[in-house]
């Protein structure tokens, strides 16, 4: 029994071991199948759509990758985009007869030089660009030559469908799509990284109207160039920015320097009487003068070797509104003396006149102003001489003079619902007085030609002689006009300048701003106001006249507020 028992026990032991092993093995297998089953359910039932959709999306994304983002205007009109083109390269190591190959290629692409191509193909390199961005027809003809060493690589070429219209704003790129000018340069990194288009604040319809009217005036007065800016006074957004002459950015390589020069932002000019806007604003803001102050403008001022005289001399005592209306240099210089050099400099700095503009263009003028701000500088700066800024500087600051006193940095990027934060530079009361003064100039003063009936235009003329080799030339003028509309509740600043206009018969030989620049502004405003949804009003209506009423005539009590220094 004991044997049987011992036999039994050994057998039983072996069986137990086997069973345990089986159990462990079975459990492991079951666990493995369980894992597989769970994963199967997970993948088929729950995780079905996730990965497959992702892979599709990735597929499309990689295939339609673009080299550079588009640039569009505020309404989404395409200003710059990429097109895929074929570029021809040669592999000299696979070309047996470079001369014959070169001759054949030049037969198809006549703009290449045969000797040059032959020389390039005789090297022992493996890759040589022969011609970039071919048209489909050229590509077909090169293929038809059947020379094995020629091959194509598809490239993205930057194209500007609107050509000259926005050339100075958008700029252009090199053949390798690196931004070289304009928005293409200042947003180079963003454009090459992101895929969403860059939306500018420009409206091409307004841009076109500005460009057309300016170009017509340049031809009419035989000017060498000009600029035009339309700026939203409530946001600082630039709606149009024109500089003429301009160029075709699709062929930017072969353009003369003068055409590439952006007169509206890169040009720094002494803009003349336009600065009386700022002189008057400072005087009214600081209390140095009031709208009823009067100044002696009977005879020119002599300071050192300078002589300050009036272009439209009245030869009498003038009120502050009259100084503005007749654009009296004498009166403005005397007002500036009442303001004082330190105060004038501080306000000019506040108005952004002493630093580069905030606009997103690499082509930026550095303002030129006296290092030591002497009394004579103060007097000349009052009427816009001795300080040179870009037209955009003036447009930006003029917007602050009429919008209630807030200076918004000028921008080319559409802000939409989040406008840039402005900075108060003058009080709302002063701004309100400036509106009346600006309206006065267009209604009764030097800017009558800028009027656009119904749109209550206000503005100021500026005619300055150009400095050539340190001397002022009386026959080379910068004629400018800054207009604002509607003066009852200003919405847009329209600024333009003409470079060296010549007097014609129709203007009685004058090339001054009132004859050359002001009509451009008037015509532009008449055409763009409907685009902005600004309805014309009856300018003779009593409530509008009350808003803009101003007392021009000198008060009876001469002597009050008189400044004679």
């Amino acid at each position: 029994m004991s044997e049987g028992l011992s036999y039994d026990t050994t057998q039983k032991k072996a069986l137990d071991v086997a069973r345990t092993r089986l159990l462990v093995g079975g459990a492991l297998m079951a666990a493995a199948f369980l894992v597989i089953g769970v994963r199967l359910v997970d993948v088929t039932v729950f995780g079905e759509s996730g990965p497959s959709r992702q892979s599709i999306a990735r597929n499309i994304a990689t295939e339609s990758q673009m080299d550079r983002a588009d640039i569009v205007d505020r309404n989404g009109v395409l200003l710059a985009t990429n097109l895929t083109t074929a570029s021809l390269y040669g592999n000299p190591s696979r070309i047996f007869d470079p001369r014959a190959a070169a001759r054949a290629l030049v037969g198809v692409l006549p703009e290449l030089s045969e000797a040059e191509v032959a020389a390039q193909l005789s090297t022992d390199r493996e890759f040589i660009w022969l011609s970039r961005n071919l048209t489909p027809r050229q590509q077909y003809e090169v293929n038809r030559l059947g020379i094995p060493g020629f091959d194509f690589r598809s490239e993205q070429r930057r194209v500007y469908p609107l050509g000259r219209l926005t050339a100075h704003i958008v700029g252009f790129t090199s053949i390798d799509n690196d931004g070289l000018a304009g928005i293409e340069k200042s947003f180079d990194a963003a454009l090459s990284e992101r895929r969403a288009p860059v939306t500018l604040s420009i409206d091409i319809r307004v841009q076109q109207i500005m460009r057309r009217e300016l170009a017509a005036q340049i031809v009419k007065f035989k000017a060498i160039g000009g600029s035009g800016v339309v700026l939203d006074v409530r946001t600082g957004e630039i709606v149009a920015l024109v500089s003429l002459p301009d160029f075709d950015p699709n062929e930017a390589g072969e353009v003369p320097d003068d055409a590439r020069f952006n007169r509206s932002t890169l040009g720094a000019y002494e803009l003349g009487s336009i600065f009386k806007i700022f002189n008057h604003a400072i005087a009214l803001e600081t209390g140095a003068a009031s709208l009823t102050s009067i100044y002696d403008a009977r005879k020119p001022i002599r300071v050192a070797r300078f002589r300050i005289s009036d272009f439209h001399p009245e030869n009498r005592w003038l009120t502050v509104p009259e100084i503005f209306m007749y654009s009296s240099n004498i009166g403005s210089a005397k007002m500036a003396l009442d303001i004082g050099s330190v105060t004038q400099r501080k306000y000019m700095s506040d108005f952004g006149m002493l630093r580069r503009s905030s606009v997103e263009l690499p082509e930026q003028a550095r303002p030129m102003y006296p290092a030591t701000w002497r009394e004579i500088n103060t007097m000349t700066i009052a009427y816009g001489h001795g300080i040179a800024v870009s037209p955009l500087h003036v447009a930006t600051a003029a917007a602050a003079m009429v919008n209630g006193g807030i200076l918004y940095p000028a921008t080319l990027i559409r802000r939409g619902d989040s406008p840039a934060k402005g900075k108060r530079v003058i009080s709302a009361q002063t701004s309100e007085k400036m509106r009346r003064l600006l309206r006065l100039v267009v209604k009764n003063g030097t800017g009558r030609n800028a009027d656009a009936p119904g749109y209550v235009v206000g503005g100021k003329t500026g005619t300055a002689e150009k400095q050539v080799d340190g001397r002022y030339k009386s026959n080379a003028l910068i004629s400018s006009f800054v207009g604002v509309f509607p003066m009852t509740a200003p919405r847009y600043v329209v600024m333009t300048h003409l470079d060296e206009p010549k007097g014609i018969k129709e203007s009685y030989g004058f090339a001054t701003a009132g004859w050359t620049a002001a009509p451009v502004v008037g015509r532009v405003i008449a055409q763009i106001a409907p685009l902005f949804g600004i309805a014309p009003v009856d300018e003779s209506a009593p409530d509008i006249r009350r808003i803009l009423a101003i007392n021009v005539a000198a008060p009876r009590t001469r002597g009050r507020g008189v400044a004679t220094n």
């Binding site: 395409l78 200003l79 990429n82 119904g454 749109y455």
Partner: protein, 186 residues
């Protein structure tokens, strides 16, 4: 007992294998289709891109201006051509003659003035202010003398329906202009 089980297992495994293969083929077919579709999408996208560039090119404002000068008789709008609805005289609905209105006012406006046509193309215009009696239907008659000339003169060779269509589109332009500059449909 054992044989049928084995048979069933065998059959099942054959079935499973067949199903696996058919699924595999289906997947590879779908994959091919996916690739083809992706290619098509890319091609279409490129084509759209080229067409957008071409659209922008063909819509160069300068080109449109020269085309408009050649084929249309449109002029830029003048301030004097705008008026408010409230400033327009009223015409009563047919059948309702207000006692105060003299018969001359009830006469229809000249048929070939564009603003009148525009108003006819839009028969139900609500009065500008709720205070005005609703039985009046607005119909523009030219408020000012010929100085505010019609913006569309019927060009030679144009018939009346052409002029009406032009005026309708002109009205659309004016209507859009009243919105924010950024909100214009393109």
């Amino acid at each position: 007992m054992k044989r049928p089980a084995a048979l069933i297992l065998f059959a099942l495994s054959i079935f499973a294998g067949g199903a696996l293969f058919s699924v595999a083929f289906e997947v590879s077919e779908l994959d091919d289709r996916l690739i083809a579709l992706n290619e098509e999408i890319t091609r279409d996208r490129d084509a759209i891109h080229v067409l957008r560039a071409e659209w922008s090119y063909l819509n160069q404002p300068e080109r449109l201006e020269s085309l408009s000068r050649r084929y249309l008789d449109l002029q830029p709008l003048k301030g004097s051509q705008f008026s408010e609805i409230a400033a327009l005289p009223m015409r009563p609905l047919p059948g309702i003659v207000p006692a105060a209105a003299p018969p001359e006012e009830a006469a229809p406006a000249e048929p070939d003035t564009p603003i009148a046509n525009a108003a006819q193309a839009r028969p139900r215009v609500k009065p500008a202010t709720p205070r005005r009696p609703s039985r009046y239907l607005l119909l523009a008659s030219q408020p000012s003398p010929p100085r505010s000339a019609p913006s569309v003169k019927p060009a030679t060779g144009m018939n009346a329906s052409d002029t009406a269509a032009l005026n309708a589109s002109l009205r659309a332009i004016i209507g859009n202009g009243a919105r924010e500059a950024g909100g214009m449909p393109r």
